[in-house]
């Protein structure tokens, strides 16, 4: 088989996934190489090397290599563990089973055994192991359905169809033989990452057939609704489209990290400068020593002060190197990981219904969560549930249902007469049901017929009930409502229900029509669409129009999404002529075909008769208004970016408390004037002031919100200078609503905010259309909602509910930010204070780079004596409302000049070390506001460690083992019993922490005042006014049509046929109560009849 094909071994990647990086041999060199790319690690390696040079070595080399080794091995182990996990998941994927054609029959194989050229059999619900060329399937026309949720996040089914040539030749039974005999040659493009295009050619039996994306089954997609499909492997493993797409994630760096990098550079520069000055001092001192005969005169190296200074420079660089926080990077990573774990562990962010905890996908952005200034939110599925409920309708001017209460509180209607009813209708209108069952009202029947036929929904049969696959949740809600009321959409079959699509359902048409030949023989056009569009196409003097429009207004006020439904009887004569013209136009391949078709459709959609209006509730997610109010109180600017219409967006804005009832909406016309005026700020201010509706003149703050639409935003591209002005205005506004924006524009808005403010931006969204903005913002949050997983795949944080955002930001974000800033500052305090002492001591020892500390203390200080409490702080610190500023411990140098002179060097070293340890631990105790047992233990352990380790390193035993390394024999024994040492350490510690202590105390006193203010402010009663503005018409009609082309083409091509479709008889049975409403609508397929004759 394989030899038939042009494919050769070795030219193609095998189907193994290798996401691991290391092998046992390469691990060490690779990890070292990676780690030494970090400046700090390299710096320390350099220090170690320098310390091996005896002339300049001021500290023995093992003191520096000790922390370096710890850092390297922790990091290395972490990488190794990750790599092992990757290996495990790789091997799990690689050993998944699949059926490979082996000469005459299919045999079980593993994914890793699949090679290019193999013919595979894929079963229903199986994941496709490689990119395949679909040869044929078990379904008619060799159609098959795939779910691409893992690739693009869209959960609706997509179809793929085999070439008719292969379909015709290979569907014979048994298929194994014909498949085995297949000897075509496939030429395909180089492996690439374009998921939606494919170009290739198949040469088979002398024919050359063109291949495109429709013939390809991609690795990672799942076969659905199809018994089995046969495919020829064309790309395997690393060549497959999905793996080509696994590009590197754009690494987002936090500001804190940037600050930190600057600090590191600053430290390096200061160390260099200090070393330089000290070296100059050393040179001067040396020349003084040279000119005076004394005990140290002979020690000036080579008798050359300049050379001595040069060497001293390097010695000081070594001696001051502990100022460089080497373990900071690794500590940062550990802290970030722990914070991310806390986010995942939080019960309050766990969504029981979907069994989904919150997830920090990017573990390095936690502290950014505490700094967010702008929240840019998607609307549908983010603020709203994207679970649409049919709540009300208006038929012939009569309003049914009541949407004032909660959907769950609606009294359920008795629908037991309907065998297809499966619940999910939250409308109580017994009168309507009565009318429908009693055949009293033909217009109601027409209304429901329209709902059940005019859509692009596909039905799938599961357990004797139709399950609807809709491209948009609106349609699903409408078709579902029709089903509940007895108009059951069962399936599309070529023979019985053929639906003519008037055009592909594109958003800009904002309507959709279908031509139906009724059982009686009449031809009807059913049309549904946005109110504005439908209303302008109505006949003159349409019945019920006035009452229907009133109903529209009513629905809009209740924040419901509305759709108008209209009908038209089409005369046979005009239909035939129109159909002919359509056939002609449809076959044209000119560029203006679409425009021509559009015109034709317009010709048909005239003189409509209004039947009614549907009202769908797009329910707000639980807790959205509260969350938004809270975030706004926290000082966040919440913007809404939506593809929806302005009216819908504004109403959602009101209902989710983003806008207050008295908020003034500033629309484009006004905004444009303001932007064009020479002094935008003043104009803006005036515009706000002159508002008559500003009821309370006392309230200085007039609330304003900007409302923009996509096309208006496009103007910003031409006027880049408006960006800054716009942002200045926006900063004074309560909110900004951007409607009708494309995914690209969403990202542009995020970039605009990023460019013109210094705030951290956060984007939140749930759909594939939000991916752009999620990636662009500093922090991207994906809601794991109805629209599938793509937003989550690209997000830094994944939540299940919008309201979890308040916890993520206000609790975890704030904690993380505080913990990490305190951590960073403390860390720098700790290391710099530690090293600074040497500069001070330099003035007393002739700038000779003499270390004040015992070498072991240097090695152990940062790891054992001070690391645990600060890590505990970074893990557990909570409720830090007092900001204690850390200052340089200049007072380290205090006193101790003449008076300590009876001290020998070693006692002084122990005293200073003790003070350093105490200071570090007292300082952390000051910062810690949340004392868990672990914190207490950590502080105690650190201090005790100091005493124990000092005793150990100063012990006789160690001295005897290696006199050169343990010079401080007996120093701590004596020092620890000397009251003067304790008193000095106490005084030094207290003096060192006094500045931060004072800052803390002053903060406490000042904060009291703030708290008092907050308290008194919140006690004022908040008056809620009607959220509707007087005199303003608030008609909202929205119509969510599917984003992409949807299955319209497929439906109209008539190939979407299920083998298990119930017959018409079943449909009759299904609706035995009202024969009139049976869907025995026999009609002619207009547009595609010639194509599929």
């Amino acid at each position: 088989m394989k030899s038939f094909l042009c494919f050769r071994w070795g030219r193609y990647a095998d189907n193994l996934v290798r996401s691991y990086k290391y092998s046992p041999l390469t691990f060490l060199p690779l990890t070292l190489f990676e780690q030494f790319q970090r400046a700090a690690n390299l710096y320390f390696l350099l220090m170690v090397v320098m310390q091996c040079v005896p002339v300049i070595s001021s500290i023995p080399f093992y003191i520096t290599i000790f922390p370096l080794l710890i850092v390297l091995s922790v990091r290395g182990l972490k990488d190794l563990a990750n790599d092992m996990a990757r290996r495990r998941s790789d091997s799990e994927i690689n050993s998944r089973p699949c059926d490979v054609l082996d000469s005459q029959s299919f045999s079980r194989a593993q994914w890793k055994d699949v090679c290019v050229g193999d013919v595979l059999r894929i079963h229903k619900d199986q994941v496709i192991p490689a990119d395949l060329l679909l040869l044929c399937s078990s379904e008619p026309h060799s159609l098959c359905y795939v779910e691409t949720a893992d690739i693009d996040g869209e959960s609706n089914l997509k179809f793929r169809q085999a070439l008719s040539a292969t379909h015709n030749q290979m569907t014979s039974h048994p298929s194994e033989e014909t498949l085995a005999a297949f000897d075509g040659v496939v030429l395909c493009e180089e492996p690439n990452n374009r998921l939606y295009t494919f170009r290739g050619q198949m040469h088979w039996r002398g024919e050359s057939l063109l291949l495109d994306n429709e013939h390809i089954l991609l690795r990672g997609t799942v076969l659905r609704n199809t018994e089995f499909a046969y495919g020829l492997t064309i790309y395997t493993g690393a060549d497959s489209k999905i793996l080509r797409n696994c590009g590197k994630l754009r690494v987002k760096r936090t500001r804190m990290e940037r600050v930190f990098n600057q600090v590191v550079i600053g430290i390096v520069l200061s160390v260099l400068l200090a070393a330089l000055l000290l070296a100059i001092g050393a040179g001067v001192f040396s020349s003084w020593v040279m000119s005076h005969t004394g005990p140290t005169s002979a020690l000036v190296i080579n008798g050359n002060p300049v050379y001595t200074g040069f060497l001293i420079f390097w010695s000081y660089i070594i001696l001051l190197s502990p100022a460089m926080p080497i373990s900071l990077y690794i500590s940062f990573e550990v802290i970030h990981t722990v914070h991310s774990l806390f986010i995942g562990w939080d019960m309050e962010m766990y969504w029981q219904q979907a069994d989904r905890p919150a997830q920090a996908r990017n573990t390095s952005l936690n502290e950014e969560l505490g700094q967010v200034g702008y929240l840019l939110s998607d609307k549908t599925g983010t603020l709203t549930q994207n679970r649409l409920l049919f709540r009300q309708c208006c038929i012939a001017g009569e309003v049914y249902g009541d949407a004032s209460g909660k959907a769950e509180d609606t009294e359920p209607m008795d629908l037991s007469w309907n065998p297809f009813s499966c619940g999910g209708l939250f409308m109580s209108a017994p009168s309507l049901v009565q009318k429908l069952r009693g055949q009293q009202c033909p217009i109601s029947c027409q209304f429901l017929r329209a709902l059940s036929v005019c859509h692009t929904v596909m039905a799938e049969w599961k357990e004797e009930a139709p399950v609807y696959q809709a491209a948009s949740p609106d349609e699903e809600a409408l078709v579902g409502a029709a089903r509940e009321l007895g108009w059951v959409f069962l399936s599309r079959t070529r023979d019985f229900i053929v639906v003519s699509e008037l055009g592909v359902t594109r958003d800009h048409r904002r309507r959709m029509s279908v031509l139906v030949r009724e059982p009686e023989g009449g031809l009807k056009l059913y049309c549904k669409g946005a109110d504005l569009v439908i209303l302008e196409r109505l006949q003159k003097d349409c019945l019920h129009q006035e009452r229907t429009e009133r109903a529209l207004e009513l629905f809009s006020q209740a924040c419901l999404r509305t759709l108008c439904v209209a009908v038209r009887s089409v005369p046979e004569a005009s239909w035939e002529q129109w159909s002919k013209t359509l056939d002609q136009s449809a076959t044209m391949v000119t560029s203006d075909r679409d425009a021509l078709l559009e015109k034709l459709y317009d010709q048909m959609e005239i003189d409509l008769q209004l039947i009614g209006v549907t009202a769908i509730e797009d329910r707000l997610q639980e807790g959205v208004p509260e969350t938004i109010a809270l975030l706004q109180q926290a000082g966040l600017k919440v913007w809404v970016l939506t593809g929806d219409k302005k009216e819908t967006a504004v109403n959602i804005g009101y209902s989710c408390k983003l806008l207050d009832p008295d908020t003034r909406l500033l629309e484009w016309q006004e905004l444009r004037q303001i932007l064009q005026s020479p002094d935008p700020g003043v104009t803006f201010f005036k515009a706000r002031q002159t508002e008559l509706w500003a009821v309370d003149k006392q309230t200085a703050e007039v609330k304003t919100a900007l409302v923009l639409t996509g096309p208006e935003l496009a103007e910003f591209d031409q006027r880049p200078e408006w960006g800054a002005t716009f942002m200045r205005l926006a900063e004074q506004c309560q909110s900004v609503l951007c409607c009708r924006v494309t995914p690209g524009q969403k990202a542009d808005i995020v970039s605009l905010v990023r460019k013109h403010t210094r705030s951290v931006t956060m984007s939140i969204g749930d759909g594939a259309n939000d991916v752009n903005m999620i990636k662009t913002a500093h922090v991207g949050v994906g809601l794991a909602g109805v629209e599938g997983g793509q937003a989550v795949q690209n997000a830094d944080f994944a939540l299940s509910q919008f309201r979890f955002l308040q916890r993520l930001l206000l609790v975890h974000g704030r904690w993380s930010y505080r913990r990490i800033s305190f951590f960073l500052r403390y860390f720098l305090f700790k290391t710099c204070g530690f090293a600074l002492v040497h500069i001070w001591f330099g003035f007393f020892n002739g700038f000779s780079a003499q270390s004040l500390y015992e070498t072991w203390f240097i090695g152990l200080y940062s790891v054992f004596y001070t690391a645990f409490p600060v890590m505990c702080l970074a893990f557990f610190e909570q409720d830090v409302n007092a900001e204690s500023s850390l200052k340089w411990p200049e007072l380290y140098r205090s006193g101790q000049r003449q008076e300590l002179s009876t001290y020998d060097f070693q006692t002084m070293a122990v005293t200073v070390a003790m003070a350093a340890t105490f200071t570090a631990n007292v300082e952390i105790s000051l910062i810690t506001r949340y004392w868990t047992r672990l914190n207490v233990a950590a502080v105690c352990v650190s201090v005790v460690m100091f005493f124990i380790c000092s005793r150990i390193t100063h012990s006789t035993r160690l001295f005897k083992a290696s006199p050169m390394d343990y010079l401080f024999l007996g120093a701590s024994d004596r020092a620890f019993i000397d009251p003067l040492v304790w008193l000095t350490a106490l005084l030094t510690t207290w003096t060192a922490v006094l500045p931060s202590m004072t800052a803390l105390a002053i903060n406490v006193i000042l904060n009291m005042q703030d708290k008092h203010k907050v308290h008194s402010a919140s006690s004022q009663p908040v008056e809620l006014r009607s959220r509707l503005r007087r005199g303003a018409s608030l008609r909202r009609s929205s119509y969510a049509l599917s984003q992409g082309a949807g299955p319209g083409r497929l439906i109209s091509s008539g190939t979407c046929i299920r083998s298990t479709v119930p017959t018409v008889d079943e449909q009759v049975a299904a609706d035995n109560n009202s024969t009139d409403s049976q869907l025995q609508i026999n009609m002619k397929n207009n547009s595609d009849a010639p194509n599929h004759a």
Binding site: H292, G294, P295, T296, A298, L299, F342, G344, W345, D346, M347, Y350, Q352, D355, R356, W815, F844, N845, G846, S848, A849, Q850, F876, Q878, S894, G895, Q896, R897, E899, L900, S901, T902, Y903, F905, Q906, T907, M908, A909, Y930, T932, R933, F959, P963, L969, G970, R974, L980, L983, T984, L987, W990, L994, L1000, A1001, I1002, V1004, I1005, L1006, M1008, Q1009
Partner: protein, 339 residues
Amino acid sequence: MVKEEKEIANRPDNTAFTQQRLPAWQPMLSAGIVIPGFVLIGLAFIGIGVALFVTSRSITVLEIDYTGVEKDSPCYKCSDADVKNCVCNLVFSIDSLFEGPVFFYYGLSNYFQNYRKYAASKDDDQLSGDLDAFTAPSDSCSPYDYNSNDKPIVPCGAIANSMFNDTFKLYRVVNGAKKLVPLDGKGIAWWTDYNVKYRNPSVTPLKNAFNNTVKPIFWPKPAYQLDASDPANNGFINQDFLVWMRRAALPDFRKLYRRITEGDYAKGLPAGNYSLTIAYNYPVLSFDGTKKVVFSNVSWMGGKNEFLGIAYLVVGSLCVLMSIVMLIVYAKFKFPEED
């Protein structure tokens, strides 16, 4: 059942740790705690400061510079580097009883024992009695490791070489007659230095260990002859040598020379005239240094240390002062309407 379990498979653990609800003590700071706290700490520091200061004041210190820079100084003649074996007499009087035990220090200034090259200039192996290190001293001793004839110096290094070698004799002058005050030179070094860190090679007589070595250039006598009066006080465990080898932390320092604890002087030095005979050997003028002798008694807190007491007083007062400032700030904020 299985399904139910599956449904909550991802449910986070509800433990105090994962939910960040570990029991914790959260110190609730308020002005009511902070200000009195500052006052209390301030008062405590002032208390300690007063105690230290008073203790320090009770300590009597007598310092006499004998560098001999001034012409009328008794040691002026000795300050000339060319004068060898010079002896000078320092006469001083004590008005009232100098309470004992009295410690007798010598002090040097502008002397950098903490200079890194100086500090490293010794061989610890040699000083712990390792005979291999006698024949081949460590590089760290350079240039005091070998003499010009390439003979190893023992003890090597700059510290040992620069050992202080002035000697003192204290006489009490009673009716014109000089009466020697006994000085106790035992136990003036650290116990660990004497017993652990510094060891003589186990060779008897000690002199043999020093065969084929030379004494430090600056020394008048080899290490095994440091104390002629007491054979046990020789070599590396000579008390004066140990005191010298324990480097000072700062360039102005004093080191213990003797204690005055014996006989009539156990209670202290009685009032009267004293004469200190100094064998002036150690040159300090070449590096602008000074030499002095210090008599001092000690308290529980060691020697006289007025700075620590004053520092405590200053810091304590600062705390109290700050608490007053805070009180004013607090009052201003709490009753802003009244202002």
